[in-house]
Symmetry: C2
């Protein structure tokens, strides 16, 4: 079958080259007569892949020796708990900026940890409006709107809210909040690796792999050695970032096939020209979609403030839910999937991660224009 | 290249049929024009695989409605911490039976959790001897040697110690310790699914997938609804077994490719005749190896007490380390890998999980006999 145009929010489209590479050597990795999945994580064949994945991350993001690159498990959802477990102690405070549903979840898990540790969690800013269970999020705060606690253990931000299509630093007018001396901890699950990043600004960035990095089941974390050293030593070893830093993420068996796929994806990314090339490609895809929306404001409506519109997840509404359903159905007929908005907000969501081909976006824009013309 | 005879301790050999199935549809799963890795975990194509994997586990092990079947992340090493986090509370006690290095690790993580929760952990029995950092383990206790705390929160046992080759219930003379009314919690990482199991005897059994179930990065847990309900509600949601039970292990994004591979492995297992067929096949492989060892006691030496010798990991020594190295080197020339004992104990270790072909064991036995003859 022809390749489906996959706009899934995550797990999402992967580069075909990375998948083909896996297919070709699935039962015979590097001439070993075994699948990469069957290799010991302590053997030199797997170790080479593991090291290459770390080296590619360091190279693509220019990660200096001040920061560790870790592969972890449990998804970003586990990091919501694991980060405060490492960094909160009796009497300390962590600050949270909430700009969508994922920020809410991170805050909620941190509160549970804080309660166990006699620490505090402080909402430094929320852009949510509405009283219902499902708040509406359509903007991100200016640095001046964020009320950071002096000497907080860290300031947590969600860089891109996948459900709401709200992204920090897609536009220079909405930089990440500044914590003064407070370490900035950022969940970049859905907008990691689509453009360059000055890693030195962050205490910790983390990302579930299943958007821009690889398959689900693996988390990439880049964390300053300073924060690693500050981490609690009285929590179980498996949850200490220190443990994974000291063991090159081989303290226990890593998800070896996941790391292998990450290596394949990163190798593809580098071949494409690295992050500057990705940024150009991604900005172009998003600009096309937003221009169709903005050229047809009587028909399409993007609820998100312009400076904060996500380059990774473009969300918009049609005049009626019936028309939204019709668009999804017609798209499916033409080989496009993954366009339904998250169940909590409805509408349409187009995820345009690195592996989403510009031609797929063109095909979708064409369909959108047909719908707008029809009215 | 011809298929390598893989005796790795884990990640380990997988059934070739399960790998071939993955290879054939790696870029086009079920005619969808996408890899299974690219499917949403909320979509019906993936959900079918997820449900089938759970259904196959229930069928193969005859898991009744009293128990939940969960897919978790973080490896058995994370379960060492996550189980006491769920089941310990202020003033309560958990009992541990230690018969090797994995039991030591489980105990150590439980102690860290107990300290945070003002609870206690009690060593109900250890068979370790020696004062050094690396204790020696060559036996398992009779039920009468295990000193269970009345009303303990649970009694934790490691059913098979991969490093030491020590396994409970490989022989009827060494049943699992009895906890009276205390729920039995068993780490079955390296001997899950090789024979039938009366699940109703256990409060919780868990296993990292990378031995008998699939690739690394996924944990299977079978837990009684009673224990799930008893779990703490004040720990982060992601660590509550309740969360995963209530959401069919889809609370957050599961390692979808891992679950898919588990499905492929379980489908193969069923096709082979299920667990009774696996037990016959595995007992035969282990019996062959032990018979070569016991027929050449002047040359080979298995340090493990007979009733407790593992069917999954056969460990033995040769007269000298040089001869051990020579055996490993000669085996490699003949296409056999993964025979070196764990670095902490040395010697030879032959892991004979489900996917290890009887013919591979025959080839190894032949080589062992040649070595014994040569002397």
């Amino acid at each position: 079958m022809a390749r489906t145009m996959n706009f899934n929010a995550g797990p999402a489209a992967l580069p075909l080259a990375a998948l083909e590479r896996a297919r070709q050597e699935l039962t015979d990795f590097a001439g070993s007569g075994m699948s990469v999945m069957e290799h010991s994580h302590r053997g030199k064949d797997y170790e080479k892949v593991h090291d290459e994945a770390i080296a590619l991350l360091r190279e693509l993001l220019d990660v200096r020796d001040t920061h560790e690159v870790l592969f972890l498990q449990g998804g970003a959802s586990q990091m919501f708990a694991q980060i405060p477990m490492n960094l909160l102690e009796e009497g300390s405070v962590a600050d949270y900026v909430v700009t969508g549903a994922w920020g809410e979840k991170a805050l909620s898990e941190a509160k549970a940890v804080a309660k166990l540790f006699d620490a505090d969690v402080h909402l430094a800013c929320s852009t949510g409006t509405g009283d219902g269970k499902e708040k509406s999020y359509v903007r991100a705060p200016l640095p001046s709107e964020v009320n950071v606690t002096p000497r907080a253990a860290y300031l947590h931000v969600t860089s891109n809210e996948t459900i709401h299509g709200v992204e920090f630093e897609a536009d220079a007018a909405r930089p990440f909040p500044q914590g003064g001396g407070v370490p900035l901890v950022v969940d970049m699950s859905s907008d990691f690796l689509w453009k360059k990043l000055d890693v030195s600004r962050f205490g910790l960035v983390y990302a579930g792999a299943q958007k821009n990095i690889g398959p689900s089941g693996i988390v990439v974390a880049i964390v300053s050695k300073e924060l690693v050293a500050k981490g609690r030593k009285d929590i179980p070893k498996i949850f200490q970032l220190r443990t994974h830093a000291e063991n090159k993420s081989l303290y226990n068996t890593p998800p070896t096939f996941g790391v292998y796929m990450v290596r394949n994806v990163l190798a593809w990314l580098k071949e494409q020209g690295g992050l500057p090339a990705m940024e150009a490609r991604n900005r172009q895809k998003a600009a096309k979609l937003y221009s169709v929306i903005d050229a047809n404001t009587g028909f399409f409506r993007c609820p998100v403030e312009k400076q904060i519109r996500s380059v990774m997840n473009v969300v918009f509404r049609l005049p009626s839910e019936q028309q939204e359903e019709a668009l999804v159905a017609e798209a499916k007929k033409r080989g496009m999937v993954g366009l339904k908005g998250h169940r909590s907000v409805g509408g349409i969501r187009v995820s345009t991660y690195n592996a989403v081909e510009p031609a797929w976006v063109d095909a979708l824009c064409e369909l959108m224009q047909e719908f707008a013309k029809r009215g």
